[in-house]
Structures are given as C-alpha cells and as structure tokens.
Amino acid sequence: MPQKINIVCVTGTREKLQMAAMIASVGAAVGYDVTVFLSMNALQYFVKGFTEDAPSEGELGRLLSQEGVPPFKQLFQQAVELGDAKLLPCSMALDLMKITKAELDSEVGPPTGLTRFLSDAEDCQMFTF
C-alpha cells in the first residue's frame, strides 16, 4: 500500500499555497497517496471563476509571480492528473461560503467533513499550511 501524505491548506497567501502545491505535485508524482484538505481562506481559489491573485506574505511571494514559476493552481491540477491526488473541500467552509461542489473547479473532489478526513489521515504524514 502506498504511503499517504495529507496536506491541510487553510491560509490564502501565495507562499503557503505554492509550498502546499509543490508538496502535493511532487508527492503525487513520486507515488504517494496524496490528499489535500481545503478550508478557510484557501478554498476560495478553487471556486470557478475566481481570478484574484493570492497576496504575498513577503519578498519570496513577490518573486513567485515571475515567469517560469509554475502557478499553484497548475501544480495542484498536475497532482490530480498525473498522480491521482485528491483535493477535498471542507464541507463547513462550503456551508459558510454558501456554495456547493458544483461551483468549485472540476478537479476538486467531494465535500468532506473533519471526522472523515481525520479518520482517513490516521497514521500518515500531515502538512499544514
């Protein structure tokens, strides 16, 4: 059974989303079973038609906007397409935002509650951004 990596994305800043996306894409490419739980301010970037740039926390975030840096959305998408990663939206955040799964990008999976996520995440590596 492949090893599992769980990534919790809650912060909506560029550096954190980029780092989470890098771990998700490389982890999935290496063969880890990757799950990304999207909640709080990170979830809005996965709403269809949302085009606002994620704000930088500092200089590195500004450097990330230069040409040649793969955008985090593209890396998450590659994690799903090339490595079967799962992107799971937090059901509580969807409720608060008053949106449904249909309004999220197609690569995002089924709304997931914490109980389910925690039980799936037992005994595996967990990264929080």
């Binding site: 894409s25 490389v26 063969g31 040649g68 840096v69």
Partner: protein, 76 residues
C-alpha cells in the same frame, strides 16, 4: 518514437521541469528515451531521485553551460 525526445524545460523553476518530464513520460512507450533540459539548479539531483524512485533508468546526467541535460529511458 525511436529517437530521443527533447523536453525543453529551461527557465522554469522547481518543480516545473520535473512535472513537465512526468507529463511526457506518461505519454511515452517503454524503452523510449527522453532528454530533459533544465536550468533549475536542483534538477541535477532531484530528477534522478524521482527516476530511481519510480523505477526508470538514468542514462546520463550532465551540466553543460549552465543547463542540466538528463537522459532517461522509460523502463515500465
């Protein structure tokens, strides 16, 4: 596809070159040879790490004029 296929990922940052390689690797046939060109410094160590981990074969790995040339044979 019998010749070596060149994947030009110069001027992209980590993990761009690796992801580009994997995209083409998925479409390639077993036995095909792919050569990745990368200016990302970490590629010289990181790409062979991935190749070993997933079980393909590194044929050569050298840096020429600031560009990593990594030749890989798809093994499975």
């Amino acid at each position: 596809m019998s010749d070596c296929m060149i994947i030009d990922a110069r001027d992209t940052y980590c993990p761009g070159p690796l992801m580009e390689l994997i995209t083409y690797m998925k479409q390639a046939n077993v036995g095909d040879i792919l050569e990745l060109l990368s200016t990302d410094e970490g590629s010289g160590a990181d790409v062979p790490e991935w190749v070993d981990k997933v079980g393909h074969e590194i044929l050569s790995n050298e840096k020429i004029d600031g560009v990593w040339h990594i030749k890989i044979r798809k093994a499975k």
